[in-house]
Amino acid sequence: MEKIAILRMEGTNCEYESYLAFKRLDAQPEYVHLKELERKKKNLEEYDCVFIPGGFSAGDYVRGGAIFAARLKASIFKDLKKFVENGYPVVGICNGFQVLIELGMLPALYGISEQPEACLTTNDSNRFECRQTLIRHERSVCKLTKNIKVGKICSIPVAHAEGKLVFKDEEYAEEVNEKQVVFRYVDIEGKEAGYPWNPNGSYKNIAGICNNEGNVLGMMPHPERAFHKWQNGDGKEIFEGILNYIRSIC
């Protein structure tokens, strides 16, 4: 069974539904508190996937994900790096996406970067936005979403104040845009449109990206909140994709 580390610290708050999503697909999720890793009570090597759920880690009073990332960097960064370089999947949703960006693990156009090369900044509306979005699955190097057809439009909600993806420069942005964009916000006809379809003003309507190797995925929408059909969502497929990938490498 695939062992999933659901990483958390104070202020992480989507761990419960993320845990359930993996559980429903017969994987073996486990809550792992940052402190347990810092104190070496648990070790990343024991897991097949690291999943960083949404929330307001440490309150996010500085910048989304900044403190969580700083603490990871100060403690188990080497292990996490090795984990990624060995091809294991790392997924960040919402606050988890912010953490991965802060860590330089995304977009990681030329591999994990020392400094963040992108930023998830304040929404154009300057407000927290909780709303349903439609995201189109794009052709990319992502290995975790192979089960989802390219072009498919998935219905998955967002809830964040800092989700506008911007990059360090235009050239860099274009390169990421070309091959590492996994999901884009679209309207009901599948076309790229402005607000409210794109809830945050993200560059080229980007909702989710992967790293250059395709095994790290970050996205703002919350698939764990749209797992079931009666939730009117397509989140289940995202989790299935992650598990498919694990099976293919293990």
């Binding site: 104070e10 202020g11 359930l20 309150g59 407000r127 927290f128 764990e224 909140r225 797992f227």
Partner: protein
């Protein structure tokens, strides 16, 4: 005065025994006790018998326990008389929160209370700590919080600055900051804020109301009570440190707001910290899951003083507390300050001695401070030590059990006036104006700032329809358990325009609306919670309003056979410009058999017939229509609980049986607004009002009569629908068609309304966005 204060070690003793009446009152005032002369005399008698002088800490402790906020001295008598006995056998517990059965293995837990005074003074912090407090009320029953609810009441947003009395903040500022407070706390703590209401009425200009509710779920065998079990058990303090914030919160809440309230009472507002709260919730629930907790209570109003007293009194025991063990934020705090501070994010756990070590270890793992601070003793007294000095010792029967008033009241003045004749205005422009009025327009500006989906169990969301244009749902539905499709539906209601005209019938209408909101999603009413916000109870007319509201709650709920499982009374909601409208906020909780069958409001399928359920009468008092026309006449809608009970059951059954494709209740703004909202969220409708008898077209459209719904019936099930509703008046009023709302009436089928969905949406949606930005 000072000669009456005598230093004794770490405390002062106050010479009540030799104080004159004036001096007694002065002591109460200068210490901020908010106790009246009679109460001060009573305290003097008590200490005379003991033959000693009270300490500052003891007087403070009594002031906390005897505050209106803590002991309900003005309301208890009436609450017992009117509502405590309704459907009592269905209530599992009524403590810090109410407990009801959810299914064979689970209870659901409900709490609803006010956080009005702090929010009027410091809206951001006040609203945030309101959320914090209500979460702890649910948590201390051992329950996992699953939903937050926030009914809010402000003055109208366009009130002129110059017209505001001194010391009063503009409603726009209050509204904005309250919503931000709820957002920043609720979103961070990871519990979805799913429901509530925002009401604008100018009686709230001087004293806005912030009510907060929470619902939780707990396994039956894990329910914890807010009382100790047996002597020898240890009291464990857990959570944030104690500081000087929130001193005198409850005594300040038991007085009217004055011009200087902000300067004087800002220290009475607590500071919230969701990032301490979040692990505190985890740690408490983990201890509970492992069966390590004997009793638990949250430190809210009155702080340690009230908690350590009440938790023992409820079981007939007492407690001993060692104050120097309490973790402090500021080292030089005096014993009495530690004792009554209302610092947030603190819980008191009662733990068996043999479990203490394990409990402390769990808290340590969550990085949450937890220390033993005292123990349960046999005698019903509370004894407080500070560094080996006894700084207070009170008989709990005197402190907690003593006070109850039978306040004078008079029948509230009827403010309804006889209806008048007038010419019918243009209905299309009237509809658009009503759609954009403060109390009808879209609440999207508020709702989207709240995370209403965290925990992934919000099935029926507060906004519905397609992504581009969404409209309000009647109630939200949460699916609390992973392995069951059973759901909990939640709604809150009160219309202060009705209650200010007629407290009794206005309150009946609130119950009616709450019930029909639940029915509209397919939920059966299970319990009510009531947050009763009124003016100064020492004024007989205010007290009369309170009593008449209670009578209404009694009359409705007895017929429905539904208990009030939680609630609070908030008096003194008065400022220099008068009292708030009687505001008995009703929260209703319903149970859904299968969340997959819930109905939503959006019109779904072309050609499906549309029916109006229930009788439309000319009940225009307090209506949006009359408000718009500036007419102050008419009577407020009446409600018949028997008809309501029967109608609700039929609506729910029709939803369960898949007869109804969409459903929406009729409330503010009447039938026209209901139809507009259903069109905004879904497909268009062509309506003919001809079948509704004996009313002028405008009254058909804008009457706010109770116990009515609009339903879209699945075409192939129309016969079934008719049969089911045989004994209830229903009217076929049109079909689902097109992309807008078209309304005809009269023998000649005159077209009164022809509006595109987008026009409807813009009128309805833009108001708050424009004014709040």
């Amino acid at each position: 005065m000072n000669k009456l204060f005598v230093k004794d070690g770490y405390i002062y003793r106050i010479d009540l025994l030799n104080a004159s009446d004036d001096e007694l009152l002065n002591i109460s005032k200068s210490m901020g006790l908010a106790l009246n002369l009679e109460e001060m005399k009573r305290i003097r008698e008590y200490f005379k018998k003991l033959g000693r002088l009270p300490s500052d800490l003891e007087l403070e402790a009594l002031a906390q326990s005897w505050s209106e906020h803590c002991c309900y001295k003005s309301s208890k008598y009436f609450l017992k008389q009117y509502i405590y006995n309704i459907a009592k056998e269905k209530i599992i517990a009524r403590e810090d929160a109410g407990v009801m059965e959810f299914d064979d293995k689970h209870y659901y837990v409900v709490a609803l209370e006010s956080h009005n005074h702090p929010s009027a003074i410091e809206p951001y912090g006040g609203a945030a700590t309101g959320i914090g407090g209500i979460l702890r009320d649910v948590l201390c029953m051992g329950a996992q919080p699953i939903a937050l609810i926030d009914p809010l009441f402000f003055g109208e947003l366009n009130v002129r600055y110059e017209s505001l009395p001194k010391g009063i903040k503009h409603p726009r500022y209050l509204f904005k900051r309250v919503v931000e407070g709820i957002r920043d706390y609720g979103n961070r703590v990871g519990i979805p804020t799913v429901a509530g209401q925002v009401y604008f009425h100018n009686s709230y200009i001087g004293n806005c109301l912030v009510n907060v509710g929470c619902v939780g779920i707990v396994k039956k065998d894990k329910l914890v009570h807010s009382r100790v079990k047996k002597p020898g058990d240890i009291l464990v303090y857990a959570g944030g440190k104690t500081g000087r914030d929130g001193i005198h919160g409850v005594t300040f809440a038991s007085e009217e707001l004055k011009e200087e309230s902000e300067e004087k009472s800002i220290t009475a507002v607590q500071l919230g910290d969701p990032i301490t709260k979040e692990p505190l919730i985890h740690a408490c629930l983990e201890c509970n899951e492992k069966g390590l907790i004997e009793g638990m209570k949250d430190m809210g109003g009155g702080g340690l003083s009230c908690v350590c007293s009440e938790i023992a009194y409820e079981a007939g025991y007492g407690t001993e507390v060692y104050l120097e063990k309490v973790p402090l934020r500021e080292e030089d705090m005096k014993p009495w300050e530690i004792w009554v501070s209302e610092s947030q994010e603190r819980m008191l756990l009662v733990v068996k001695e043999e479990n203490l070590k394990e409990v402390l270890k769990i808290f340590e793992e969550w990085d949450v401070e937890a220390v033993p601070i005292g123990k349960v003793i046999e005698e019903p007294i509370i004894r407080i030590y500070y560094k080996n000095q006894i700084v207070g010792e009170l008989d709990l029967r005197f402190q907690v059990g003593a006070l109850e008033y039978r306040r004078e009241w008079i029948k509230p003045k009827g403010r309804e006036r006889e209806d008048i004749d007038f010419e019918m205005p243009d209905l299309q422009s009237t509809l658009l104006k009503i759609l954009s009025s403060y109390n009808v327009c879209s609440r999207e500006w508020v709702i989207r700032q709240y995370d209403f989906e965290v925990r992934g169990s919000t099935v029926i969301k507060p906004l519905q329809g397609n992504i581009e244009m969404q409209s309000h749902s009647d109630a939200v539905v949460i699916k609390p358990l992973e392995d069951s499709f059973k759901g909990l539906a939640i709604t809150t209601d009160i219309n202060p325009y009705y209650t200010s005209l007629n407290p009794y019938h206005g309150t009946c209408s609130a119950i009616d609306e709450a019930c029909r909101n639940l029915a509209a999603v397919g939920a059966r009413i299970s319990s009510f919670a009531d947050c009763l916000n009124f003016g100064n109870p020492e004024k007989p007319e205010r007290m009369g309003e309170f009593v008449y509201c209670l009578k209404a709650l009694h009359d409705m709920a007895s017929v429905l056979d539904v208990p009030f499982v939680s609630g609070n009374v908030s008096f003194y909601n008065e400022s220099t410009i008068g009292s708030v409208a009687p505001t008995p906020t009703i929260m209703a909780i319903g149970i859904v058999k299968d969340v997959r069958k819930c109905a939503t409001i959006d019109f779904k399928k072309e050609e499906n017939p549309i029916y109006l359920i229930g009788e439309t009468k000319k009940e225009m008092g307090g209506s949006e229509y009359y408000k718009l026309l500036g007419i102050n006449a008419g009577r407020v809608p009446r409600s018949d609980a028997k008809v309501l009970k029967n109608s609700m059951e039929k609506v729910v059954r029709a939803i369960e049986d898949g007869i109804i494709a969409s459903c929406h209740d009729i409330s503010n703004g009447g039938l026209a607004v209901t139809l507009a909202e259903m069109v905004i969220a879904g497909k268009g409708a062509e309506i003919c009002l001809y079948s509704i008898p004996n009313l002028r077209t405008d009254f058909k459209l804008f009457s706010e009569s109770n116990t009515r719904w609009v339903v879209e019936v699945n075409k192939e099930k129309e016969e079934e629908f008719r049969k089911l509703f045989e004994d209830i008046p229903t009217y076929k009023i049109g079909i689902v068609k097109g992309k807008g709302l078209v309304i005809y009436d009269g023998d000649e089928m005159k077209k009164y309304v022809d509006l595109d969905k987008k026009e409807l949406y813009e009128s309805w949606n833009n108001r708050l966005w424009k004014e709040m930005g």
